[in-house]
């Protein structure tokens, strides 16, 4: 059937619609505002919702010599103004109101929009300012870009078995005698129905015909539909969320009573159970609803009803993908909405009452969500279905509201990648550490980035989605104030080994300011946001990991003692001999010995051993009471004990072939090499480095890393004992390996060979913890003075 044009005339001089513009103050070009003004008639049969809303983006502008700057935008957060005050005077329109942010705590702020009264043929533009008491106004200069509030692309694929016209609906609002009195006659399809609702739906012209002709195949399950989406949806690749939706016209669902389904939701709601959600839906052409469906103008009431039901099903299922629940699930069983069931409404209000009154629209609350809801609650692949801080969230889902920033997403391609990874399975109570990796994706331009990836420095924010769906922000125990630590990442040349283009750091996220983050078995998702020095915003991938259940009843009982402040802080500090954390240290030591043949035991042994590799100083009362507090050495370094404790851990790591554990294994060996050097046992250190080299080589580690290890082994093997001792007094390999600093061992080697290198600024900004030693502090002070002079 030929597609009929159904677009109605837009109101020529309306204010309402979508605007966009860059920040002009206080920092020109730093931000971008996606603004939606909904205060007057923008389109026929489209109610006014009396709202203004918007999304803030940060603009990443990277200067490329000889070319225009590379610009990408990263979504930050959304807000809404309810019932704004609109005044028109002397040809000027002013819109004001109180800004409410969907997430997080914000100081009270007000919005003011000023613009000229729109004139025919002139694209409206406006100045938008956000002010808060005592603060500088943020000002944006915006231009109208659409009479809709949002827009998205819809890809529709169709199964071969039912690929006959009509594939898509086209329905007259007055085509069936059961209709509301006075309903305006118009032809509605999917696009027009959503245009009236305020969303511009662009149906992609390409349509894949899916061959479902295999004789043994009869009906679709959710899992098969999801799998088909992953196979056929041309936009499935790349980061989500995005304004892309997939619909499939299929034969029959496994339950024949179902005419359509948005299958892309959690399994508990009856969906396929695979995140991200709300990307796709299906309509089942063989459902009895559509038996009378014909191409062209319906010639009977049955045919008109079938077409009306066909339109309803497409719009309804797409509505679920916009995060709509059914009307009765929102305590609005009497709603005359695309999201209600006709027979449910009729049961409450009498036979045929739904179609006698339904005006082919969403209800007001739904329209507000669709047009002005929190972006992550609306956009496909954003908040899980039936959750999110939006008007449609059911009671009891409040805890699923994500903190601001958690849903940050990129529009366009970023020149920098932030990767979060770790092993995928952690034993119950095993410390969870993730690797954060920055990578320059430019082909020809080096980038200098702040390399402090630990959230303690504030440049990286980590979000954790717990098994119950709650998204929380990881809060480190310490906040560190320090100079930036710039690191240049050079582009990877063809044929070059990866290395100079990337920088990694391992971050322990088991414990933070609010306790343990991985204290329940189940699936977790981890996502990070790199802010660097504040001029960039780079969201990472979503990394999934699973925490297992306790393997024994005894381990389960131990959890009571393990999930305590003392253990948490001991883990956070990577081991501590503080008397205040003694019970934690003792438990970790006991567990590391008891479970020494498991990864849990190996990780705990590393933590305990770390605190044994160095002396511990503690402030203690002097002879004359508290006024005379004195720093005393309470524990001497016990490298022998540390070696003994980690012997079994070496075997555990040796036996695993999981690439994600390479960094931890390298840390373990580095820790042991530190101890062996202290004990003047270079031969054993060389041997263990050799074994590490062999293991990492077998797991396909990059050559530059292998070279570092063999160079270090060679240097330790050929350096006189007194020089090694000098080296050992000033360097701890383990800490350097944790930051994956490619130059670390090179610097160490250079110093071993007698070449003095100035220490980097970042090294001396380490927060003073109970581990800091007076000698190290002195060195740090000297270096700081040198750095200031430089």
């Amino acid at each position: 059937m030929a597609r009929q044009t159904t677009t109605a005339a837009t109101a020529p001089t309306s204010i309402s619609g979508q605007y966009e513009g860059e920040m002009t103050s206080p920092t020109s070009g730093l931000g971008l505002l996606d603004l939606r003004i909904d205060v007057d008639k923008r389109y026929p049969n489209s109610p006014i919702m009396k709202r203004v809303s918007g999304d803030f983006y940060q603009l990443n502008k990277i200067t490329v010599p000889g070319s225009p700057p590379k610009v990408t935008r990263v979504y930050r957060e959304s807000w809404i103004v309810n019932n704004p005050l609109v005044k028109t005077l002397n040809g000027k329109v002013t819109i004001t109101g109180k800004v409410t942010y969907w997430k997080g705590i914000h100081p009270s702020s007000t919005l003011k929009i000023t613009m000229s009264v729109p004139q025919p043929g002139v694209t409206p533009s406006c100045i938008v300012s956000f002010t808060r008491p005592g603060g500088q106004a943020a000002v944006y200069n915006c231009t109208k870009k659409s009479d809709s509030f949002r827009s998205l692309n819809l890809e529709i694929d169709v199964c071969k078995s039912i690929n006959v016209e009509p594939v898509l609906p086209l329905c007259s609002t007055t085509g069936h005698p059961t209709k509301p009195a006075g309903v305006p006659q118009r032809m509605l399809n999917i696009e027009e129905s959503y245009r009236e609702a305020g969303v511009q739906v662009n149906i992609r012209p390409e349509r894949t015909v899916i061959d479902d002709s295999i004789a043994t195949f009869e009906t679709w399950s959710d899992a098969e539909l999801h799998s088909a989406m992953e196979t056929y949806f041309s936009q499935i690749a790349g980061p989500w969320p995005k304004w892309e939706m997939w619909g499939i016209l299929a034969g029959s669902y496994e339950e024949p009573a179902v005419g359509g389904i948005m299958f892309d939701a959690a399994a508990t709601f009856g969906g396929a159970g695979k995140a991200p959600e709300r990307q796709g839906f299906a309509v089942f052409r063989k459902h009895e609803w559509f038996d009378a469906l014909v191409a062209g103008t319906p010639a009977s009431d049955d045919q008109a009803a079938a077409m009306r039901q066909f339109l309803y099903t497409w719009v309804h299922e797409a509505g679920h993908a916009f995060n709509f629940l059914h009307s009765w699930d929102k305590n609005r069983p009497d709603s005359l909405s695309w999201m209600n069931y006709d027979w449910r409404y009729d049961n409450l209000n009498g036979a045929d009452s739904f179609w006698s009154n339904f005006l082919f629209r969403f209800d007001d609350e739904e329209l507000i969500h669709l047009r002005h809801g929190d972006r992550s609650a609306v956009i496909m692949g954003g908040d899980p279905w039936a959750s999110g801080g939006h008007l449609e969230a059911p009671p009891g889902a409040e805890h699923l509201v994500a903190p601001p920033g958690a849903m940050a997403s990129v529009e366009g391609e970023l020149p920098i990648e932030l990767l979060v990874r770790s092993k995928e399975y952690f034993e119950f109570m095993e410390p969870v550490a993730i690797e954060l990796r920055l990578r320059n994706l430019f082909a020809d331009m080096p980038l200098t980035l702040d390399s402090r990836l630990n959230p303690e420095y504030g440049g990286v924010v980590i979000y954790i989605r717990r098994p119950d769906g709650r998204i929380i922000e990881y809060a480190p125990v310490m906040c560190k104030l320090a100079y930036t630590s710039p690191k240049q990442l050079t582009p990877l040349l063809p044929g070059q080994e990866p290395g100079p283009d990337r920088y990694s750091e391992e971050v322990l996220i088991s414990y933070g300011r609010y306790g343990f983050y991985f204290d329940e078995p189940g699936e977790y998702q981890v996502r990070a946001l790199y802010q660097g020095a504040g001029d960039l915003l780079i969201p990472s991938n979503v990394h999934r990991l699973r925490v297992g259940t306790p393997l024994t009843r005894e381990l389960d009982k131990t959890a009571q003692d393990y999930f305590s402040y003392e253990v948490g802080m001991s883990l956070y500090l990577e081991g501590s001999r503080s008397p205040h954390l003694e019970t934690g240290f003792d438990l970790l030591r006991e567990m590391s010995e008891k479970h020494k043949n498991s990864m849990l035991g190996a990780k705990l042994a590393m933590t305990v051993a770390n605190s044994l590799t160095q002396s511990f100083f503690n402030l203690e009362a002097g002879d004359k009471g508290k006024e005379k507090l004195k720093l005393r050495q309470t524990h001497k370094a016990e490298p022998k004990e540390a070696l003994k404790l980690t012997e079994a851990a070496v075997d555990v790591f040796e036996k695993t072939d999981e690439k994600a554990l390479n960094l931890s294994y390298r840390q373990l060996v580095s820790q042991r090499v530190d101890c062996l050097v202290q004990l003047e046992r270079p031969k054993q250190a060389v041997k263990e480095l050799g074994e590490l080299h062999k293991h990492l080589e077998s797991t396909g580690v990059n050559q530059p890393v292998l070279n570092q290890i063999s160079n270090l082994a060679e240097t330790i093997g050929s350096t006189p004992a007194h020089k090694i001792e000098e080296y050992a007094g000033r360097h701890r390999l383990w800490e350097r390996v944790r930051t994956h600093d490619r130059l670390a061992s090179v610097a160490g080697i250079a110093e071993l060979a007698g070449v003095k290198r100035p220490r980097t600024v970042s090294k001396k900004t380490r927060t003073t913890t109970s581990k800091a030693r007076p000698a190290a502090k002195k060195t740090a002070k000297k270096s700081a003075k040198k750095a200031q002079k430089r």
């Binding site: 339950e255 009573a257 179902v258 005419g259 359509g260 389904i261 948005m262 299958f263 939701a265 508990t268 709601f269 009856g270 969906g271 459902h287 009895e288 609803w289 309803y312 099903t313 309804h316 299922e317 679920h320 629940l325 059914h326 009765w328 699930d329 069931y341 027979w343 449910r344 049961n347 279905w385 039936a386």
Partner: protein, 96 residues
């Protein structure tokens, strides 16, 4: 007759009796919130007035629906506010 178990079921055991005879016995009945449907099943009923009793032992609920089988081709049963509620229809309930 078709009986649809609709809203409010959550891992429940459900038994359906027609004039005292058990015709359906299911465990783990859960509403798919995407659809508002947990289970749809065809049951045999005699002509005329029929007593259809639905029991949900896991929620300690039971209710008998008196229907005329010639008028009622479909019975939808939901749990709402701690009660079993039924709706009837000549047309089959559809879900989307």
């Amino acid at each position: 007759m078709r009986i649809d178990l609709q809203e409010g079921f959550s891992n429940d055991a459900v038994e359906v009796y027609v004039n005292g005879a058990k015709v359906l016995d299911k465990e783990g009945v859960t509403t798919k919130r995407m659809l508002g449907l947990a289970l749809s099943s065809e049951i045999d009923v005699p002509d005329g007035a029929v007593a259809i009793e639905v029991k949900v032992p896991t929620k300690n609920l039971a209710k008998t629906f008196a229907v005329e089988s010639s008028d009622t081709a479909n019975l939808g049963v939901s749990i709402h506010n701690g009660e079993l509620k039924g709706i009837t229809s000549k047309k089959r309930f559809g879900y989307a």
